[in-house]
Symmetry: C2
Subunit: 302 residues, 2 copies
Amino acid sequence: MDADFWIAADWGTTYLRAWMMSGATVVAELKSDRGMGKLRPADFEPALLELIEPWLAGRENVEVLVCGMVGARQGWIETPYMATPTAPGSPGAAVNAPVRDGRIEVRILPGLCQANPPDVMRGEETQIAGLVLEQPGYSGIVCLPGTHSKWVHLNTGIVQGFQTFMTGEVFELMSKGSVLRHSITDTGWDTEAFIFEFRATLANPASLWANFFSIRAQALLADTAPGVARARLSGMLVGAEFAAAGVAAADAPITIIGDEPLAIIYRDAFKLIGIEPSVVEAKKATLLGLCAARSTMKGDRT
Amino acid sequence: MDADFWIAADWGTTYLRAWMMSGATVVAELKSDRGMGKLRPADFEPALLELIEPWLAGRENVEVLVCGMVGARQGWIETPYMATPTAPGSPGAAVNAPVRDGRIEVRILPGLCQANPPDVMRGEETQIAGLVLEQPGYSGIVCLPGTHSKWVHLNTGIVQGFQTFMTGEVFELMSKGSVLRHSITDTGWDTEAFIFEFRATLANPASLWANFFSIRAQALLADTAPGVARARLSGMLVGAEFAAAGVAAADAPITIIGDEPLAIIYRDAFKLIGIEPSVVEAKKATLLGLCAARSTMKGDRT
């Protein structure tokens, strides 16, 4: 058996992703839709075992290192928030989750918080730690687009502060739950419509609130091609996010941590304002961050 | 029997309200939650009869005059939109709804549309017609707060243009469907929190997108009194609406058509920026508008 066998996991609100690891190498990968948002505290251990059972045959005390919303108050067990300014990834504050099965030992990493303005994150700090592992002393902005987009300011590898934008969640709510749902298709995209609304909202964020309903009215009064309404709403919301993040005034390097298609939509939006960001795949950043945390913990213990 | 017997109705997305009328006098009033949003075309006549049946005994050809979303494409029968600039309330374009029951004759009033920027309304035009009936030649802004708030510009009784804001709908979606639901109580209100966020967003609308998530983070990191989160979100959204409406720069008279508590929240928000609006009760405006439309139709016919 592999002496350096362990399990890395990213347990968010919607999904649980697990990787069978040999040192820093991924041996296998599994995914479940039993995100923390659907689970009560007693459900977490069974949900994890259900996914990783095939990897545990004949083993005991397998190290499982987890990041994400699983450490929230409504999660498996609450882990602390490390206050900014701080280095991302502080495995010393990891919390042991209560388990009955002797085959696993589960540790959950802490999140990050900022006192003023109040903000919190769980999971993204591990991705940022992965970026800093690859680019020691990173200074600049890290943009992590998603349900709750995070914009994180780092100076020489230290997180100075961050902002959360509910862009993805508001997009889902408005496109599926509001009157706009009658006009917004599930698929389809119109790049020109996105660019137009992104630029307009970035230039005049106050206009945002007046423009939402025009998506519905335009569809009622004129024939619009499929995908136009969807791209218009997205352009408005991403434009509002960029305006609020004050990115146009920033001259720091920008790195996007994310996956397609969102990472590409954001990268192209940055290009529209003359910024060429780097893009790091989310899974890669998460795994690097979990490996870094594990190394530190092993170092701590020796 | 009363020779001037008729039925007035306001049939919106959520509710159907009907009034038994004798000329311009309300004799009785009924309300049903069978809004047009829940009905297919064939359901409208039964839903109406279910409500007003008690008023129809021994009558035939009772005039029923209806305004609201019932005239939308997904409604009973589609009525046209009158294009701005136009006088509010154009009963000549009313459409007869198909009915089987000989006791009723149903006419649905048209809506209003604006080509650029694209916008539409159904129901509010009748309330505005009611206001103009009471204040002939009204010039100024009419603000109708609600699920979809409308801000309407009138000059000598003519609607010049209008803007729709999805403030009420986004408030409902975010407070009940987003991560903020964990922090927002169903009731409770903190006036100071509302005022703070209203002023902050009005002064700097770009900040809106950065502030939503702070409602959740503040609740996680600090104890906040019940009602604070609810009032904060409302203050942000109403502030964004006022900023987008450009109201601070307006020096026209402002009339709010609405009901408590929303009409009072908006009135107090206007007062914060030094504006003292008039407030007209929504039901009163609707009934006046329906009476005005009926008078015009009777005049048209003779």
